[in-house]
């Protein structure tokens, strides 16, 4: 049996009182000894900030293991669930506090899975945020191998503050447009 899918629609302008929740963007507390700040801007085709975007992050734990723990909506300060949600602010900036994911397999490339929603964006967009500093793994990555250098660069985070932060901008359109992904979905 194959059922036709329910179409997506834009998240619209009014999700701000519904989808954010307390400590939604803190996968770990900022005080965690290995906490990393993942942050950046969401920009439109004119290079202007997008103040009404919502990002969701989903990742393996530090050992490259899938996490299937409850508690993402009710952070207890200790449980790492691997999922978080961040809204952009008035300047189009977002930030998440999390742990660097491990690679699924030795020699594999470690990345975050990211999904992007925004007013004006008619369906969600998937992409990946690859960690910097793993050159051999990045060179061997199946997805990155299909991309030209310019597109590849849009999927790489940059270390900041001596590794305390990771910087990743999302460009919905235009110069430096982020490479967005499909996974055999019908769109």
């Amino acid at each position: 049996m194959s059922l036709p899918p329910t179409p997506g629609q834009t998240v619209g302008p009014f999700f701000g009182y519904a989808l954010p929740f307390e400590r939604d963007s803190e996968l770990v507390p900022a005080s965690h000894p290995r906490a990393v700040r993942l942050h950046g801007h969401v920009l439109d085709g004119a290079g202007d900030p997008v103040p009404d975007a919502l990002l969701e992050l989903w990742q393996l734990d530090e050992d490259g293991m899938v996490v299937q723990a409850h508690g993402s909506l009710h952070r207890d300060g200790y449980t790492f669930t691997g999922w978080g949600r961040a809204s952009t602010d008035r300047a189009g900036h977002y930030q998440l506090v999390t742990l660097r994911p491990g690679a699924e397999e030795p020699g594999g490339a470690a990345f975050f899975s990211l999904v992007v929603f925004a007013r004006g964006l008619l369906d969600r967009l998937h992409t990946r945020i690859y960690l910097p500093g793993q050159d051999d793994a990045l060179a061997a990555d199946p997805l990155l191998g299909t991309l030209d250098d310019r597109d590849r660069a849009t999927l790489l985070a940059h270390d900041e503050d001596g590794g305390a932060s990771l910087r990743f901008d999302v460009r919905l359109q235009g110069s430096g447009e982020t490479a967005f992904l499909r996974y055999g979905r019908s769109s």
Partner: protein
């Protein structure tokens, strides 16, 4: 003041509505906010990795069962048509998605959101916020008790009105199945005029966003009832492995 008329937007919708797939066009000019917010390059094919083939999980500490009733969140009964909306979350093979998160948000009966950006001069209902969430049961069923939302004006063009809708955010078995969409009501006269709904250019696909009135869901002397099933698109672990098997056979 926005001088683009509904007639002009309707003409643009007609011109842009060449047959499309099951998902909305990302580049759909009649929805003006999309102009600078859609990628111009094709989506790149990625073989999903393990993290993309699984989903976050949510449990009893995450969602209070009372959050599924949007009519009891304040001190009194909200104004409007009380209704139940229920259905199942399924994957493309018809398998239910159990114990997974469904979030909803909506305008009140007068078409007003509790959001400071909503400046529509319709009344705020002190007894209605319009936010709910629940976990599907073992059979993939979700159910919300709420108030039927009203249509509301927006500024895409002059005299633009959105058909009444409830926003849904749904998780699947895999993160690739993540869905945010809008559920509509049967026979809404605003459908043909709405560039967001019409961005899905396949009529059968558009129809999948319209709930069905179901008298079996309607409760005597209490509420009307609507049914709306949600089918998630995209790879999950079972489907992806089956796909790999097919490739091996080829």
């Amino acid at each position: 003041m926005n001088l683009i008329t509904q007639d002009e937007i309707s003409a643009e919708i007609a011109a842009a509505s060449t047959p499309g797939g099951p998902q909305p066009r990302l580049d759909f000019g009649p929805y003006r906010s999309s102009l600078l917010r859609h990628p111009t390059k094709d989506l790149r094919h990625a073989d999903p990795e393990t993290i993309e083939l699984v989903s976050p999980v949510f449990g009893p500490q995450d969602v209070d069962p009372l959050e599924a009733d949007l009519t009891i969140q304040h001190g009194g009964e909200p104004i409007g048509e009380r209704m139940v909306v229920t259905g199942r979350v399924l994957d493309g093979d018809g398998r239910p998605v159990p114990h997974q998160l469904v979030e909803v948000w909506q305008a009140n009966a007068a078409g007003r959101y509790i959001h400071q950006r909503d400046q529509h001069p319709a009344p705020i209902d002190p007894h209605f916020t319009g936010v709910g969430r629940c976990l599907t049961d073992a059979d993939g069923t979700y159910a919300f008790t709420t108030i039927k939302p009203g249509p509301y004006p927006w500024k895409n063009h002059r005299n633009a009105w959105r058909p009444a809708h409830i926003h849904f955010s749904v998780f699947g078995r895999a993160f690739t199945q993540r869905l945010v969409t809008q559920m509509y009501f049967p026979g809404d006269p605003l459908f043909a005029l709405d560039p967001i709904y019409q961005a899905i250019t396949d009529e059968a696909a558009r129809d999948r966003l319209v709930a069905t009135y179901d008298h079996e869901v309607t409760r005597p002397e209490w509420s009307t009832g609507y049914r709306w099933d949600i089918v998630l698109d995209g790879a999950d672990a079972v489907r992806f492995e089956a796909h790999l098997d097919e490739e091996d056979d080829a």
